[in-house]
Symmetry: C2
């Protein structure tokens, strides 16, 4: 049964994707574990000498970063960076070259393993999205039973969106959060119809990853990745919500500044041409230096002791979420051990938490400028939880007895602040609310729904007032052809109309345009991929749009070799027939079959001959000379060439041009004749209705009063690149992605320049 | 500053909505509590006599249901039912009459309080969505500062969608789940831009509701509504996933059958015309009987003891989610108390759970046919958790020692099965996945992410293969103008094209159509709200579409009193002028100013006069008689009436019609003259370009090869009701909601009739 076949295909496809992703993820995790183990083994067990230990600590990261950079530079430059901005663009309908190839997959997987194994302050969520998308793309291409999935473009986009969710699900082992996060981060409009695909993929991916952990890594069962154990009996007092909201606001500010610093750092490096040139020549110097710097800073015997440098990311997060107050006096042995890792004999936990937050804040920005695969989500989580823990410990230190509620005291739980901070900082950097769900899933606790959501909403509001999201910032830096989302609070999008930003100077062609004018239009507008067709330049009624290649084909057909040959042969044949007719009494007995097409062609050529015979003007003299040279054979025959030159000024009907047809020899025109024939051909009008060119009969159309909001919806939902503006059927303008982008930027800039806007008022 | 004003308005609006909803919800909860308390007081404390107790138990529900039914019947029939199907339709862009009025709000709130207070097996999520939407709608109308929100239609839809989420958020006190559930249930395409509004509204609503509980009902703090306390250390063994998936599949079957039974029960009652007539005459009999039946069944001394009849909904759910095995031997006192409520001396917990599940399964279907406000989500949760608990207890009874994992045994936790069952049954009834999140939030535990999601996905797959969702089923029953979603697995939607289902016999008007023909077209197609305009019936190039009322206005203008008067006066004036010209040598010195419009009108009338003077044919004779009667004064003057009748057959230029202008008296034509003048006016062609009628220059256009999927997207995203099908600019067909609905039904029916489809193959 066809339907169930299709159904099973969908879920089989997603299952296959999920299992492959889980295997890749498992292999990568093992690789990362191995690298980190090796590094600690070098550092701990080989030698006691501090310098040797330093060398051991530093060597592996620098080496691995260098290897990754070279890989990426020589093999697959597309594998660098996060991948989410690119996937946003691809899902928007703009295909990017080489982004979904096997080579990119291999380099991205190996590179990410090296980068994370080297202990750089970078994450993996972006690359996972990219990897899952490549897997889905390749799977659909390789396996025959899945091929039908990619037949339909909108379907392939849906599967790609599901793959993005799947990637995130595998990465965090947090299916629900992953689906929601991927929707928020990669799409503008979401078809609820596609919901289940994301969930299904995520559940398969997340379950497979955790089951692999259960079977091969000795994990007990499928639980949260960074579990917390907070009593759900009385998680927080309702008045603490104010503190949580404040933490959220601060995280929002920090997040916006994070995006700002990142973008301006990248732009600064780029703008300094000298530095840029030097770095481009010596591609390995910059990443090598950075890797050295970062691993030096984390050297546990040096500054690393203040940064929790020798704790793995997992342990860092689990410890930051640990449910006891670090400043308390009487701690259990286990608790004291954790506190020992976050304080030194010189510093308290407060200064260590500040160092930790600052280190990750700046160093992950700097590290992300290396051309290696990296994500920014885990670093954002770490910065946020560091900052949140700091706030929490501070509040707990301020109110050591907790908040009084009726007769009982409820103690402050710094872990709650760490969770809130992590969610709201990550939320403000990525401009997403569903990060809250991700945090619930990775901590395995949902007791803090309200505080986390309040903080995340506040952080999002603050951050989106100040800066675009990290992913959109990268899109701006990379100048990807992506349509930014309209900022939800700007009212101008409701007031701005198409007539305010459309391009009025439309290039168009019309029914009955000559081939020559068409060629001119094509030559003048090389960038246009399709050109609108109107009924006439006066009426301007839009009929449709024609692709550039179709138009080029039309011209080629009109003056192409094939048609030329055909005409040359036809006329030749006719002439031969005329010769014969001179000998015979009735010419029509010879004509094999009265093919109407042939007859019309004959008529055509006879008309031409007629017109040649009646010389009236200069232009007609020119035309005449055209057809004088038509009945030449192709230039491969010396004889014909000579004949051609002889006959150049002789009249068409002169007997000297009656050359015998020699076997199968190709009949063609002389170069001059060809030129003139082409000129004639090009001066004819095109009838698009009967021509073979495919006309898109319903290009996207707008009216002048369409609001910017609606245009944006159309462009982003339908993946449209341009739309024509009509007025009662008449073409009056065009809106392309460029114009729309500019209009949106204008509006959004009002937001990011509050001073300017205020002055305008 | 305008922008920040707008921003603040959005969130102020949502905050206001949230607080109002929280207050309403709080008041309703208090009301329900009061009713239940009163009922138990009557039942427990007044008398010991079983019959008196029975009467006390039954009286209040029957009374309240009768009151509610009368209220709804006489005041606001729109307040009956869930509200979600109607909100789906409204959000789809089809306004429903009286659904968002204050009266409906009041009746719905009071009715819901009575219904839930009477202990009917019904829920509240649907009415909450409806109530929140009304609150948002009224708020936007009442409060001046919010008025701008509803200026833009797409914005008002966004706010309404946010209000739906808010309503659910207040209902479950589960913000995230509510947002996701409302997206899944009410929309087809979702703008990620609108995400934050839903979350914000939900957080405000949910927090306010819980804070009110903290402040006024002595709740400790903001926690989950039905909290569970399951160890997160080792929640389940990975092999148990098979049991969970099986539970999901069974719940999916049960859910589909639930929807099927519900629809067929409703259709059965409707189809029996005799019964139907009787019930419509005696509106109170049916609900009264049902209330009596249901409260009799739950009478704690009778059958109620097998159904947990005297436990409140909250306690039922909390107990079903309680984390211990009910069949265990050694129970704590508290645990034993719970088990005692779920078993009698005649029955074990197994049979009680079966009775409980069956009672809720059938009785909530029957109860939902009463015309009272009700939701189906809480009943679905109860049925699901009852069934899940049953499965869990069964599994625990089968494996009393638990599942062996390595060296340790992990016991089966029936509570997990109850959670899984609740989520997957509710998910299969509503066809939503996010119900999983709702369940996590209301239980306050997220440890079972993977099992719950697996079961929900399986249940959804099974249920959507067999039946539409409950809400779509109700839409089908009520025949609301809603576009059903395409079933995600049917491949036909990719293959089916517009040309397969479009209406080829398009009614159209053309540039230059006469007023008469236009009137005919309007008369013949009374249902068309707008008519396509083409350039000519031969070319059929689509220019735009014109609203019916605009066309009617055009005709009215052409033959309306105003124009008639104007013409009558103009001609009269001209005649007077002519009279004057007869006296003066140069007429043109008298004309006050050469107003071009006047001149053309003069010319016009002179042409008419000219044509009248040259009588050629019969039709012209008719025309002539028309204008003979034009220069009559209005019928309010006796003199003129007489004149009119006298002059009827006299020639236009006869001196007898030269009547003096008497002051400001109104100049009008005679009835016969009017008729003829109208006929003449109507026989003229319309120039739509210069006419005052507003043309929609870009009605939605499709081409014949557009896929059903794309048409569906356009219709459901843009709220379009009809679209024209063009071929290279030519109008060839039309697709309206009706055709689309039929096409979708055809495809979906293939799914619901697997046998037929298989035979076709």
């Amino acid at each position: 049964h066809y339907l169930s076949e299709r159904l099973s295909k969908d879920w089989i496809f997603l299952t296959a994707c999920g299992i492959i992703m889980a295997l890749i993820s498992f292999a990568m995790d093992e690789g990362i574990r191995l690298f980190i183990k090796a590094r600690f083994w070098f550092y701990n067990d080989i030698t006691g000498d501090p310098f040797a230990r330093y060398f051991a600590w530093v060597a592996i990261p620098v080496l691995m970063i260098l290897i990754t950079t070279s890989f990426i530079h020589y093999w697959a430059p597309q594998a660098a960076g996060s991948g989410i901005p690119e996937m946003k663009t691809i899902l928007r309908g703009v295909p990017l070259k080489n982004y979904l190839t096997f080579k990119t997959l291999v380099v991205k997987v190996l590179g990410l393993t090296c980068v994370l194994g080297s202990g750089m302050p970078l994450g993996k969520e972006g690359p996972y999205v990219h990897i899952a998308s490549i897997v889905a793309h390749l799977l659909s291409k390789l396996a025959t039973p899945f091929r039908s999935i990619y037949q339909n473009e909108s379907r392939s986009t849906e599967m790609l969106a599901a793959a993005c969710a799947l990637g995130l699900g595998t990465c965090f082992a947090a299916p629900i959060g992953a689906v929601l996060f991927s929707i928020e981060v990669t799409t503008t409009y979401f078809a609820v119809r596609n919901y289940w695909r994301g969930f299904f993929g995520c559940v398969v991916g997340a379950s497979a990853v955790r089951l692999l952990a259960v079977w091969f890594q000795g994990a007990d069962t499928v639980t949260a990745v960074y579990p917390t154990y907070i009593s759900t009996e009385f998680p927080f007092d309702s008045r603490e919500l104010v503190f949580f909201a404040l933490t959220g606001a601060l995280c929002g500010l920090l997040g916006a500044s994070f995006v700002w610093v990142h973008r301006h750092y990248v732009l600064f490096i780029r703008s300094s041409t000298k530095l840029n040139k030097f770095l481009q020549k010596n591609r390995l110097i910059y990443p090598g230096m950075l890797a050295l710097l970062i691993s030096t800073l984390t050297f546990p015997l040096g500054t690393g002791q203040f940064l929790g440098g020798d704790i793995s990311t997992e342990n860092q997060l689990t410890q930051l979420f640990s449910n006891f107050t670090w400043t308390e006096k009487d701690l259990s042995e286990k608790q004291a051990k954790i506190v020992a890792q976050w304080s030194t004999k010189y510093t308290s936990i407060f200064s260590n938490l500040i160092y930790y937050t600052l280190y990750h804040y700046f160093l992950s920005i700097i590290a992300s400028t290396m051309a290696v695969p990296h994500g920014m989500f885990i670093p954002a989580l770490k910065i946020g939880s560091g900052f949140g823990r700091l706030t929490g410990e501070f509040v707990a230190w301020m109110f050591p007895l907790g908040v009084r509620y009726g007769n009982c005291m409820s103690p402050i739980m710094p872990a709650a602040y760490a969770i809130v901070g992590a969610a709201s900082f990550a939320g403000s950097v990525t401009h997403s609310i569903s990060v809250a769900v991700v945090v619930f899933e990775i901590t395995g606790q949902i007791a803090f729904v309200v505080p986390v959501l309040v903080a995340v909403l506040v952080a999002n509001a603050v951050a989106s007032l100040l800066q675009p999201s990290m992913y959109e910032s990268v899109i701006m830096i990379k100048k990807l052809p992506y349509l930014p989302d309209l900022l939800y609070t700007s009212s101008s999008m409701y007031n701005k109309q198409v007539s305010d930003f459309m391009l009025r100077d439309v290039k168009y062609i019309w029914q009955g345009i000559t081939y020559q004018r068409l060629a001119e239009v094509l030559r003048m507008n090389k960038k246009l991929r399709s050109i609108p067709l109107v009924d006439s330049p006066e009426k301007m009624i839009l009929i449709g749009s024609v692709q550039r290649q179709e138009l080029v084909k039309l011209i080629e057909e009109q003056i192409g070799r094939e048609k030329r040959m055909e005409m040359a042969q036809k006329w030749r044949a006719e002439e031969l027939r005329e010769q014969a007719a001179e000998r015979r009494p009735s010419r029509f007995e010879v004509v094999p079959a009265p093919d109407p097409q042939k007859l019309s062609l004959m008529q055509n050529s006879r008309q031409l001959n007629d017109s040649l015979n009646s010389v009236h003007s200069n232009s007609e003299a020119c035309q005449r000379s055209t057809f004088q040279s038509i009945f030449k054979n192709s230039s491969d025959s010396d004889l014909d060439l000579e004949l051609g030159s002889n006959e150049h000024l002789q009249p068409v009907v002169s007997p000297s041009k009656r050359v015998q047809l020699i076997g199968d020899r190709v009949v063609d025109m002389s170069p001059e004749g060809k030129r003139l024939w082409e000129l004639d051909q090009l001066s004819r009008p095109i009838d698009f209705y009967s021509a073979s060119a495919r006309i898109d009969p319903s290009p996207f159309q707008l009216v002048e009063s369409t609001s910017l909001l609606r245009v944006h919806s159309l462009f982003s939902m339908m993946g449209v690149n341009h739309a024509y503006v009509t007025y009662i059927g008449r073409l009056v303008g065009v809106v392309s992605l460029k114009e729309l982008l500019k209009a949106i930027e204008d509006i959004n800039n009002q937001r990011f320049e509050p001073h300017a806007a205020r002055e305008q008022q």
